[in-house]
Subunit: 323 residues, 2 copies
């Protein structure tokens, strides 16, 4: 895990335990899985999804063991989708380290994702989780698959539009955020109103989070950020800033450059500039702000408790970045 | 479905219904999944696993709806592994039709497999299946992943031996056959003794089935069968006949030829001949016979009923082929 939770030692400690559970559940005769997935766990990320699950659980009758196990499942699901996404995107690096598909080959990456999926199923069947929550979980994985396929399907697409973009983001990012909040609450016995309200908070956070991620790709002037935009453009993923800019670009200069068979660095740089000129970032920011506002409106309505305060602060840090 | 079950109209009808259930459960907003998976269903195979599940269920208190749904889950799991295997093997054809990975690309194939997995989870959560059976299912998927990774890992391997070969077959084929029999019985309320005995029958059938498949690759003198052996050899999958032949080959002629960087048709033909000369097929056949015998010994001990008679006949047709 990185330092994201260091101001909240209680959560950090619990997340460390979640990682231990993950490591325990990837142990098997095939040492390959243990090593490759174990490495991913050690490098860690922000662990936003399991953290939100735990924080949501604290609105109810918090059962530490059950919640930690469920948080591990959610993080493992997320990891499975990352491993498979890296195959699709042919990614060399993730969080600064070599991806499984790059290091070991696509073949291993396919099975590593599958193995993670089935270990999740195993963990779900070991604990007495409600069938309703299992159904919610499977619905979300299905949404993630649909979001990813839609994204892949609409590469380089003329009919890529705001509605399709939002649907993709809703599937590939917001659905799992919503689920983390919702089942965290639900398994702690929160009533339907509170659970659904937390689920909506997760959904809005997820939407804003992804839109901000996408617009930062166009905003940065550092090498790294530029590279992300370049990668997305080259593989034909048209995100919100570009979609808006294409709408505004009366002279069709962006569309013209996008048609070039393999985008040169110079072409990408010009497109990024044109996106800025045509208010692509500005308009995308407005959409992100709308989701952020919705998230905070809902957070404010939650019953007061420590968990509410932490969610508020963390979401503020995530979504009110200087962008 | 092909004509495999036409002598058993009752089973054939039930399997048709299982296919309907599969088709219902792949319906979603992303038409791609419906089309690509629907095509697979329409072409069909022998549907051995769901059929065995139904036949095992008839030893107990058979609940048609529940069993059909579970049979659909098992077939979908099998389909998911096929779709992902075709990515690993870069297969162009499966059952004479273009594979998803070949027709649409590896990217779509990854998500199609994932989608099938999660639809299985959804179906399992919709019915009131016992948690114990869900655990069994997840264990088996995990075994399949481990078997596949082991197989991939041991390509071109000097340390490929009988023990490793049997472990691979046990994971990638026998485990799912065993599961089909076992959960079919268990969900119909069969007692532990009968369920476990049916599970063992499935295991032995699966082992024999795969070994026979592998040895037929070396036996055929038609173009097609030769091509399979060629493909397995080229991708470094060393199966039982070859492993035995390597053991017997005092002059190391097979090992010598296997070392050639890319096997020519002539090299493959010579290896196939050398495998025959060195009694590779003969010895593999003995192992298959041992598993077949174990299966029949167990089948004979089952309580008499129509289902027992059908299992006996079908397994006879499958495992006592002229090989």
């Amino acid at each position: 895990m990185n330092n994201f939770w260091k101001s909240y030692p209680q959560i950090e400690e619990e997340l460390t335990n979640v990682n231990e559970i993950i490591k325990k559940n990837i142990k098997c005769r095939e040492k390959f899985f243990e090593t490759s997935i174990g490495d991913m766990v050690d490098r860690g990320g922000k662990m936003l999804r399991p953290a939100f699950l735990l924080l949501a659980g604290k609105f109810g009758d918090y059962d530490k063991k059950k919640s930690h196990n469920l948080a591990a499942v959610i993080e493992m699901l997320h990891m499975a989708t990352l491993v498979h996404d890296d195959i699709i995107d042919d990614s060399k690096l993730r969080r600064g380290y070599e991806t499984i598909q790059y290091k070991y080959g696509k073949e291993y990456a396919v099975y590593t994702g599958d193995f993670l999926f089935c270990q999740c199923l195993m963990m779900l069947s070991e604990y007495e989780y409600t069938m309703e929550n299992m159904k919610e979980i499977s619905k979300v994985i299905s949404k993630i698959c649909m979001g990813e396929v839609k994204q892949y399907h609409l590469r380089y697409a003329r009919n890529m539009n705001i509605r399709n973009y939002l649907r993709i983001v809703s599937g590939k990012t917001a659905a799992l955020f919503a689920l983390s909040f919702y089942i965290g609450a639900k398994e702690s016995g929160c009533n339907n109103r509170v659970s659904k309200s937390l689920g909506r908070i997760g959904y809005h956070i997820g939407m804003a989070f992804q839109i901000i991620d996408d617009l930062l790709d166009y905003k940065g002037n550092t090498q790294t950020l530029g590279k992300n935009a370049q990668k997305d453009l080259k593989r034909g993923y048209y995100t919100l800033p570009l979609i808006y800019a294409l709408e505004n670009d009366q002279e069709n200069r962006i569309a013209q450059r996008l048609k070039e068979p393999s985008l040169s660095e110079e072409a990408v740089n010009e497109i990024v500039e044109l996106v800025k000129e045509n208010k692509g970032i500005e308009r995308a920011k407005k959409v992100a702000n709308r989701y952020t506002k919705k998230a905070f409106d809902q957070i404010n309505k939650l019953p007061d408790c420590e968990s509410k305060a932490i969610i508020y602060e963390v979401v503020e840090g995530l979504l009110k970045r200087d962008y």
